[in-house]
């Protein structure tokens, strides 16, 4: 009798807790759905050709996001071009030349911390080091700040992917007389290529939506500007400014910009993932 009771109680407790776990999973998915749904609902109506052909307006006049899109793309490219090569080289050292050395251990530890360090502090650092010296905000400073965020992502993925390359491949190449640098370029890089591209894509996805480091570096520009030495508009800061303004038409543009950014970032994320998994299936 008591056993029966205890049995039912245990089953009930199990049912409740597992129900809660299921509810947690559903609520996680629901939140993602609500956020994406809101973005589509609010942003889609503002999507028109004008968004891509005109610069940001002042309140009350029509306009688009051309200058902000241009600035975001340009600074993302700049940040990736500066950060990714250094990251790939550093990751190569950690996985190929300096495996298990003290330098590698230290860099790995520091890099993992930089990976989640607050990006606003990076913006501040670039502001103090670059903007303050140059005496004005600039697209260069924005790109450099973004490069700081690209670097740790690329270092980590490059190292991880190179470590996955079987040593027997390297030994085989060495045995037929390849020097080390050719082994790395022709064997390690080739075997780890998909994973390394995934890392760069993830890094691009990360900086595409970054706002905090750009606030103090690239600032914003209401007009179309291609001058790298001047403040430059970019989508995240435009969203920030427009969403905090009291005007509904600017809110509409902010939502549209948010829609553009989110779906670009999610597309990058998903393609990076599918690249990584297709690679897994191959090997």
């Amino acid at each position: 009798m008591i056993d029966q009771l205890r049995y039912h109680r245990r089953r009930a407790v199990n049912g409740v807790v597992m129900g809660l776990a299921g509810a947690a999973a559903v609520s996680g998915l629901l939140i993602l759905g609500i956020i994406l749904g809101t973005l589509l609902y609010e942003g889609f109506s503002g999507l028109s050709l004008r968004v891509f052909t005109e610069s940001t307006p002042t309140a009350g006049s029509p306009g688009g996001l051309l200058n902000a899109i241009y600035g975001s793309v340009l600074m993302t490219i700049l940040g990736t071009a500066l950060g990714a090569p250094i990251g790939i080289l550093a990751g190569t050292y950690m996985a190929e030349y300096g495996r298990n050395t003290r330098l590698t251990m230290t860099v790995r530890f520091i890099n993992d911390i930089l990976l989640s360090a607050p990006s606003i502090v990076i913006g501040m650092f670039i502001n103090v080091v670059v903007v303050y010296r140059m005496h004005h905000f600039s697209a260069w400073a924005g790109g450099i700040a973004l490069a700081f965020l690209v670097l740790p992502v690329v270092v980590r993925t490059t190292e991880d992917m190179l470590l996955l390359v079987p040593n027997t491949l390297r030994e085989a190449a060495s045995a037929i007389g390849s020097p080390r640098w050719l082994v790395i370029l022709n064997v390690s890089y080739r075997a780890a290529r998909a994973g390394m591209i995934t890392g760069v894509l993830l890094a691009v996805a990360r900086i595409t939506g970054e706002t905090a480091p750009l606030l103090f570096t690239a600032l914003n520009n209401q007009f179309m500007s291609t001058n790298m030495n001047a403040p430059m508009a970019n989508l995240p800061v435009v969203i920030y400014n427009f969403a905090n303004s009291p005007y509904p038409d600017l809110h509409q543009l902010a939502w549209t910009a948010a829609l553009l950014i989110t779906f670009t970032v999610l597309a990058l994320n998903i393609s990076a993932r599918s690249l990584a998994t297709s690679r897994f299936k191959e090997s």
């Binding site: 956020i35 520091i110 606003i120 650092f125 948010a258 989110t262």
Partner: protein
């Protein structure tokens, strides 16, 4: 005879021209040094960040000393600055984020590893991880226009009615429902830390040896008993590491919080009231800071934030490293 001559020709040492050897050595040295320099760059950059923050905060440190950490005045006109409200706001929003986020994350991780049909595992994991891909500015605009009004109209009045007459709680849930405020910021943060804690927890849950779990099931344990007595104790270090990782994110998160916290440099006992965090103060005021002391005070805030997150993240990494050493895979 013929065949032995053939073999001999294979074993003849092949002359490699010295120029090729030299060239290979040169390239080897070049690549080795280039990669080593790049690895050192990572360290130099971190050193540079810390050094420049320390240098930038020297005027504020000289002017306020340790009082900076305990003073709660923030007055740009009289140039009196104290970090306490910002530090308080940072901690309280992060605590709220953890109180909501940790149980939900663990629930999701349990669901994925123990309950979920195998075919749904990947899609659900991916969807949760996509939450980490959504840029923080998007959480900000969503929090401002969707979550804050929702909390203001539907949740905060209930909280006030429910706890308004309970001692202690009526201080925490006091005042009019503003919508924006510390609670809203905490809720947004809890969504943002979900994917980090969930993915680390899921990974460490999966390192639990199947034999252990199966033995427990064999003794007649329910799923919950297996999770509580086998999975959680085994995965404890990793889960705590994952929670610290999420905490590090929550402490430093800027844009989402800036949108919804209200930016008031004061300490209110009620979590419904507006407040500020370190990162929100910096984001709001840094470009407009007039005068060296004002900028310097903000840079010192940045330094404090960096030190706090550095310590939290370092603890997280060390815990996760212990799990890695045991399971042989990197979490």
């Amino acid at each position: 005879m013929n065949s032995s001559a053939h073999v001999a020709s294979y074993s003849d040492p092949v002359e490699i021209p010295a120029s090729i050897l030299r060239r290979n050595n040169m390239w080897d040295a070049l690549l080795r040094n280039a990669t080593r320099t790049a690895a050192l760059t990572v360290l130099v950059l971190l050193g540079g960040v810390i050094a420049s923050l320390v240098q930038g905060s020297v005027p504020a440190i000289k002017a306020f000393g340790f009082g900076f950490l305990t003073s709660s005045s923030w007055n740009p006109v009289t140039e009196k600055f104290g970090a306490l409200p910002a530090i308080y706001g940072t901690l309280v929003t992060s605590i709220i984020a953890m109180v909501i986020g940790v149980p939900v994350s663990l629930g999701i991780a349990v669901f994925i590893t123990e309950l979920c049909p195998p075919r749904l595992k990947r899609p659900i994991s991916t969807a949760i991880e996509l939450l980490a891909g959504v840029p923080s500015i998007i959480y900000g605009i969503w929090g401002l226009f969707v979550l804050a009004p929702f909390l203001q109209e539907h949740v905060q009045p209930i909280l006030i009615a429910l706890f308004g007459h309970v001692p202690l709680f009526n201080m925490i849930f006091a005042g009019p429902p503003y919508g924006i405020g510390v609670l809203t910021a905490g809720v947004i943060l809890s969504v943002m830390v979900l994917p980090y804690i969930t993915s680390v927890s899921r990974d460490v849950f999966e390192t639990v040896p199947t034999v252990l779990k199966e033995s427990a099931y064999g003794l007649g344990c329910t799923t919950w008993e297996v999770v509580r007595n086998i999975v959680l104790p085994y995965a404890r270090t990793g889960v705590v590491g994952g929670v610290m990782l999420g905490l590090g994110r929550a402490l430093g998160e800027t844009m989402a919080v800036t949108f919804v916290i209200g930016n008031a440099h004061k300490i209110a006992s009620s979590i419904l009231a507006p407040g500020t965090t370190i990162s929100a103060s910096i984001a709001n005021e840094f470009t407009e800071a007039e005068g060296d002391l004002y900028s310097s005070a903000l840079i010192e805030l940045g330094l404090i934030l960096f030190v706090i997150t550095f310590v939290v993240l370092a603890c997280a990494r060390m815990m996760l490293a212990r799990v890695e050493a045991r399971s042989g895979s990197r979490v």
